[in-house]
Symmetry: D2
Subunit: 340 residues, 4 copies
């Protein structure tokens, strides 16, 4: 299998993880260039001995050796970078979301298709070892016909208000992972969406026009139902669970705890909390997803998560927004039929 030369754009929290993985943990990958506006990010790349470190993205896009770009810059730069990478004929790995506008996402898909470049949208949770075990069980038929999918996602604490303001709202920012997961598990398309949302955690969130607690019911074409619950705050840490029920059985992926100890005293049993930082909880998933991307490229296969997956999850989120605002069941056709 050939080695894949890559360049990375953006060295924030997730960019740093991708950099480490590409440098030291993925034998098939070679990281040629790292681009970041700030000196801190560049110093990090230099410490890891990345050959080319710059604040100018040209070192990536105009470098003919680079076959794949890893986009983990701020969300509002994704679309432009994807477009430029496509035009430069480079394979693309892009953090979600491609864009908050469905029209724009649709446009990006067309561009990448026209230029024949592979595009992977980084829904990292698909690559979490616990959730991918669930997916395997479903794919192997162990669950029989699916009846329900339950997803619980509760963040330890809300992000800063400025982040929330530019996030597109809870459903587009947070629940989008669960919409993708539900589609991935169901292996079917959503037909109808019912969603409700509340501002229960912090009034400041409500003042931005956003919710912090959401409930969604998705109806799939294969008659499975997904029930999704999200909250921006959880006193007991990061809660990330998935349950699937079918005609032959049920399966659950549970939380990972800080340690495995149990302490029993006169008051009962006590144990530690779940891991409460997404970088702890999902650290392995970032390596797994990058391995999957690089592996697909080196075998000339399509990446395991596509731009279309990104589009579909975004469309469900928009349907959920519509359902919540109009207090009614929304058909996916209402969202998708209007698309050019």
């Amino acid at each position: 299998m050939k080695s894949i030369k890559t360049g990375i754009l953006g060295l924030g929290r997730i960019g740093k993880i991708h950099l480490q993985n590409l440098m030291h943990k993925i034998p098939q990958a070679e990281l040629i260039a790292a681009v970041n506006p700030s000196e801190a990010g560049k110093a990090y790349a230099k410490k890891f001995n990345v050959p080319i470190v710059s604040s100018d993205s040209d070192v990536i896009f105009e470098n003919p050796d680079i076959e794949a770009v890893i986009i983990c810059s701020p969300n509002d730069t994704h679309a432009a970078y994807v477009e430029r990478a496509a035009k430069a004929g480079k394979a693309i790995f892009c953090e979600k979301p491609l864009d908050l506008s469905l029209e724009k996402v649709k446009g990006l898909l067309k561009i990448t298709e026209d230029h024949g470049v592979p595009l992977m949208v980084a829904f990292n949770q698909r690559f979490d070892v616990n959730f991918s075990k669930i997916k395997s069980l479903v794919a192997e038929g162990k669950l029989g016909d699916l009846r329900s999918i339950n997803i619980t996602s509760r963040d330890p604490a809300p992000p800063p208000i400025p982040y929330i303001k530019s996030s597109g709202g809870l459903f587009l920012d947070m629940t989008i992972h669960d919409f993708d997961m539900a589609r991935y598990i169901a292996n079917s398309e959503v037909m109808e969406v019912f969603a409700r949302g509340y501002n229960l955690v912090d009034p400041e969130i409500g003042e931005t026009g956003d919710i912090d607690t959401g409930f969604v019911m998705l109806t799939f074409e294969n008659r499975a139902t997904a029930m999704i619950e999200n909250c921006r705050q959880s006193a007991y840490g990061y809660d990330q669970r998935l349950e699937v029920f079918g005609s032959k059985g049920m399966t659950q992926a549970n939380n990972i705890y800080k340690d495995t100890h149990q302490f029993l005293d006169v008051a009962g049993v006590h144990g530690s909390r779940p891991l409460d930082f997404f970088m702890d909880r999902y650290l392995d998933s970032y390596l797994n997803e990058m391995n999957a991307f690089i592996g697909a490229l080196s075998k000339n296969e399509a990446p395991p998560v596509t731009g279309l997956d990104g589009l579909k999850a975004t469309a469900i989120a928009l349907a959920a927004n519509k359902s919540m605002k109009e207090n009614r069941l929304v058909a996916m056709t209402e969202i998708l039929d209007g698309l050019g």
Copy 2:
């Protein structure tokens, strides 16, 4: 505390449990008379040495010594027995449902009120040690402000088709327990109901016009949301879980397993299934609820579950039916405002 003299109507599966409990496990109760049409039921009562055993309910209603009647005869006899007991001035413990008609339930409440007799509707799951622990934690404020209640109830196997035909449908027959539980935990009234249901288990159930798999979202006045999932069939046994999430924490009541063993081999960890008969799973709850009824009577207190609780749960079930049929969010006022 005084001893309470009781008579029991109906010696089916649950009646037999009540009989044993009243005879041997509740010191404050005295079982004077047992009524059942069949010889088998009467033989059972004789074996346990119940003083009066008959197929004629007069031995209960016309016996001035009997202060309380336990109604566990077939569902379609409940209303008539409740009415007769009320008129005879006897305290009433009645298995759910009082009746499938909300108007009729409302009437029964009026009659018992007019005659000043206590009426307890037997929502036994409130008295399950696991669920009542959850209730205590909520009541003590350990959860903070409630945000969500998740209830999963999956039966090991569907009941016979004739039972389903006369059951009033999944929401009135099975989910009604969860509607009561959600109200009990939330300690608030339901405002709006969204429900969907499917026939996924057995086409014969669909042919009766009923569903076998249901999903309900309840919105409470205190802004908590309940997500309820029911299914008539579960390959892995009886699944009865409750989860409550609030601003200060989260709590779950999990299933009880056949045994506690774990076996680890090259393929992983293996354990036994959950208990799969409701009489195993909830056996203690029947004793606890009867103790609560008898205890309340002997202290001249109101019983812990009232006729109004029965009415409210029935109303939510009717709203769920309406929501499912009309594919829309239904306000509880649509159901309750019409009531005389």
Copy 3:
């Protein structure tokens, strides 16, 4: 299968359980007579409608209808009752211990053998659903060749000092259950015993000459090793666990908890304690063992636990005492070879 007519001697805590089981839960058994010196015990038997209730054991031993006697009177009466039952030709179910003297136990075995009456020693823990699941897995070969057996038994609180004084000591009174369990699981005989014991819980126990905390290592003929730990006091409740390790896997029977709830807050996960009364923890085992006894009689089979099992467990306990006192490894031949 024929019905077995029984008489019970002793209506203490365990006797009452046997009485209820024989009266109402074991269809093949008929309880004809109950004997107890005190009025309270007799009143209990009358409440349950036992035909003959007396303080004179003759009503059992001289009643030709009674085929089996259930001996649950005080320990120091066991030997005499067993002997009398044997001579009366009645099958015997006797609570452990038959006697604290190995010579006397040996004598009782001879008497029952000479009179051809079945004798079951009531090691109820063999009939606990969790432990018997472990036994099944071992018997089915799922564990492969056994390597180790770990038994943990910790009582919630020590018994009264007078009880301890007449108990024969920790190894004969408490660990004897574990010695039997280890033999039962190993399906092999003990060759060597190493034991240590300490007075760590209550100095008053030490003053009686007894220990309250014991550790035993048993070596079996099949080369399995059992590690047993006992303590008379446990702050977190009754702890009863069994672990078996073999060439193909490992299995554990864990504790049963008061309820299944988990509560997660900022401090971590919390749950209830294990059941802490042996009558809760082992209630089912008493029914199962009586069913096994009655079932064996009605099929003319040998009872599943024999007098020899009682003798062997007693011998191991005596070897443990010797090992502890002499601070050395003791061979079982040292105990058994001297026996007449």
Copy 4:
């Protein structure tokens, strides 16, 4: 806090982990030089950009900038490297064992003391997050007076026969971790040792004169007892558990599983196996122990595990060997009193 300049000797499996940690995960550490005889090891160090890479240990011992050496070369080189490092005045972090001879270990302790260099023996399991949680609970007094410590350690598969031949035997090679853990948890010294061992896994191991399954009972000065069980083979993966019981409660550190999924079907509950490679199970512990070593140096504190800890664990292992061979209880004085 000052930064510590280090050199590493040996780039096998564990050396590579230490290298990565020193290069990228411990801000206070600087890795100046890496020494390994083979090209593969050196290539690894170059990939990570270690400034000096050589097969000659002089680059470390004669480099005045290097303050601390990390010794993870083959076991039979430890003693010589420790001695040379001491003479060069460098702080020492050495993988266990210092040496298999107690006399030699004693000599190394004297040399390091004479040269005033800190010496840390790398008992990495002390730094496992699960076990260190247990240690904290004990240290905080949550357990009360300790009564027992149970350690289970079962390897997934035996090491190669040549490794076993030079290992010093099960107790010195494998159980030594548990001897250290027991001392660490008990916070007391061992007085007496009773040990038994068997060749149950592979006859070839027995032919080397070694055992593959061992059982040890340790008696501590504070009257706590440790029960340790080791096996070279476990069908279900790597089993690493610790349980501590005291007057106020009990605590357990359990295994870490490959994932958190549970699958329930008609046959029961199923989950994945424990992690079965020690590099997965204990990966974090290597980072934690190096952080502890570097942290202690930079604060001029003594390292948290000392040469004396290494000596004591070795002495217990030798006592266990003696006990096993002589089939008797061995006092630690028999081992330690002879030491010069």
